[in-house]
């Protein structure tokens, strides 16, 4: 038995060393390629260099799919980018912004802030897409977020068995496929043209909306602590970089608005904005919310709706920039 345990220990020890070696090689390989094979906006944002923007938009799909940068730029004569990514919680948004600001600058950050984004764990299917940042895991700021967000066993595994992160996400980093397929780059060329926005050209609003959740019905909700923590970190990041912050909630279709106790929810967000000292503009129930033809679904404007809303937002952004 002793011999068996010795053998197994030596074998496992060498195995861990080997996996760390492989992890190191993969970190170099994927890191140099700037995440170009990962289907995530990080791969576009991390390549940005020397952008001096008037404003940048950040948030989940209610930023990415709903704010049309071309419309805002044309309306207000500004230069902006949409850094939003679908289903991104604030921890993910924080990484995207922090990375972007290393080589670029913006005067104003337009941040999507609403009920789903403050409860990202429940609202989004995958609010922290760690796979998008694996090659950058060793960077202090990213490692810090990983430690904060991931379960401890997973974090320590990533840290001490470097290859384990690529093993776990072998479908996102399929070594063989990456060598022969270069498709994702092309996808992000389209995003470059739209300055990071991806509008939805459909009108398939889900009929009706009912919630069984008492919290949602009464509107007395508990926001997610992790989201609040990273919202705060985004605010601090803006302050330390002299960036003005403008938070907004994009329009919701009226059914959704009335099904949930949004009046109470939004009052809570108002209180949060007051206590943390940032500006929050609530567009969730503007007249556009009444018009079904402008919605792709209950919580997302479609292309036509996004253009109308972006025009409205352009005025606010312009005023905010002029005021400072």
């Amino acid at each position: 038995m002793k011999r068996f345990l010795q053998h197994i220990s030596i074998f496992a020890g060498i195995g861990i060393l080997l996996l760390n070696g492989i992890g190191y090689v993969l970190d170099q390989y994927y890191g140099k390629l700037n995440n170009q094979f990962v289907d995530h906006k990080a791969n576009w944002i991390f390549k940005k260099n020397g952008e001096n923007l008037d404003y940048a938009v950040l948030g989940a799909s209610r930023a990415y799919n709903v704010i049309d940068i071309n419309t805002i730029d044309l309306t207000a004569g500004l230069t902006g980018l949409n850094l939003g990514e679908r289903g991104a919680g604030y921890a993910e948004c924080y990484i995207l912004l922090e990375h972007f600001l290393r080589k670029n600058s913006t005067k104003l950050l337009v941040l999507s802030l609403d009920y789903p984004s403050l409860k990202s764990v429940e609202s989004y299917s995958y609010p922290f897409k760690e796979y998008a940042f694996l090659p950058q895991f060793e960077e202090d700021s990213i490692e810090f977020v990983f430690q904060d967000v991931l379960p401890p066993h997973k974090f320590w595994m990533y840290k001490f068995v470097k290859a384990s992160k690529y093993m776990e996400f072998n479908s996102k980093y399929p070594f063989y496929d990456n060598l022969i397929h270069f498709g994702i780059e092309q996808e992000y060329q389209k995003i470059e043209q739209s300055k990071g926005s991806k509008l939805v050209n459909k009108n398939q609003r889900v009929e009706g909306f009912n919630t069984q959740d008492m919290e949602e019905i009464t509107g007395k909700v508990q926001f997610n602590k992790l989201d609040l923590r990273y919202l705060r970190k985004i605010i601090q990041l803006c302050k330390s970089n002299d960036i003005e912050l403008l938070c907004y909630s994009a329009p919701l279709y009226k059914d959704l608005y009335f099904a949930r106790g949004y009046e109470n929810i939004n009052n809570q967000i108002d209180s949060l904005a007051a206590s943390w000292d940032f500006e929050w503009n609530d567009y969730s129930f503007i007249p556009l919310s009444q018009q079904e033809e402008y919605f792709a679904d209950n919580s997302h404007l479609n292309q036509a709706g996004a253009k109308i809303f972006s025009k409205q937002l352009a005025r606010t952004i312009s005023e905010k920039l002029k005021a400072n």
Binding site: M1, R3, F4, H7, F11, I14, G15, L18, L19, I22, A163, Y166, M167, E168, N170, S171, F175, Y176, D177, I180
Partner: protein, 485 residues
Amino acid sequence: MLFNSAPFFVFLPIVFALFWALKNQLKWQNLLILIASYVFYGWWDWRFLILIVISTINDYFLGNAIHKTENQKKRKLYLILSIISNLGILGWFKYCDFFIENAIQLIESIGLQANISTLEIAIPVGISFYTFQTMSYTIDIYRKKMNAEKDVIAFGAFVAFFPQLVAGPIERATNLLPQFNKKKSFDFAIAIDGLKQALWGFFKKIVIADHCAIYVDKIFGTPDFPVEYAELPGSVLLMGSIYFAFQIYADFSGYSDIAIGTAKLFGFNLMRNFNFPYFSRDIAEFWRRWHISLSTWFRDYLYIPLGGSRGNKWKQFRNVMVIFVVSGFWHGANWTFIAWGALNAVYFLPLLFLNLNRKNLDNEISNSLLPSLKVMLSILITFILTCLAWVFFRSASIGDAFVYLSEIFKLDFIPDNLYYLHPLLISQLAFFIALEWWNRNNTHPFEFKRKCHKSIRWSIYYAFIIIILFSANYHESSDFIYFQF
């Protein structure tokens, strides 16, 4: 608990450590195996543990009752009771809804209203395996091939032995049960061999079977994403059946290898379940090499009692049809499995009537590096016949299977969709076949018979482990196909 899941990799070292910590305390070791096996099974659904307990207690007492009496009538009665209770449990949980469903269809086909409905009974994992294992115990006592087990804990551990509980090999009491009564001393070489065999099993399951499954599901369709076979070229459908042949083989034989390897860690020797079946030269040979524990079970407990290949042609025909159809039905309560069994019988009967069914008995296909053209051709024909039969096994209904087969033969054999010929999968399969062929005289490829330096051996193990680790799906569990049986 799945072999290819994180809890198993915590569970196994704990049980292993406790087991060998109880060295020389056989009763405690058996109790540990029993508890561990119940935890292993209960991880899936603890409620169905009651069935294993019932089966264990029932056969424990009936086995002892058969053994104690010399009265032939009583012995027969106890045996019948054992068979009825085991088949009763199996029948109720596995086949009840099938019979109700068919009764409804039959009643409605003659224009009557059927006022019954299916019971939607959940099928307990591995029920077909452990009921057959316990039946072999009482039958063997009845046949006076073995004595009844006195120790209920040892018997319980035999019935529920976790490495082979849910998907076999279906062990014979004559082989496995005595091992629970034999003091074990740790054998380094056997334990290492067990780990190697388990590694090979994981490679088969995770790299070959799960990779094939992606394409099989896309070609055959799934309940959520059905496929219109008419829209796919015949070449793709043929590929689908070949991929499925590899999927089911790698999946099931992979499970068996992990089970046998795991059992070796505890000093148990389980029977071999697969012997490179796709290198068979005819269907009879295929059935001697495929799911050996089940085919020999049916041979010993059904085919031979029916008369086997003795008697006139009609009796031979009847016996072959019975054993293949029952074997198909054992797999699942669906006409597709029965058709699969019947089709294999159709393949087998000409060999039987021409006295060719025992032509290829030698285990070693050939000692040369490559097979002769004649052998290669016979292997290829057997493989294609098997692939066509697998279509019934994989299809949701008989109708689907016939459509699938007819679409294969529509002769548009130009692969218009290279997606299905993924170079990685093709190269994996080619490597797998080559490795199997190269090692056809061993139980697994890591049995280095020639002297091979440790550094080379270890490099090979690491290479396989890395391939497995980088192929596994860590976010979705991938069941073994035979769990459902």
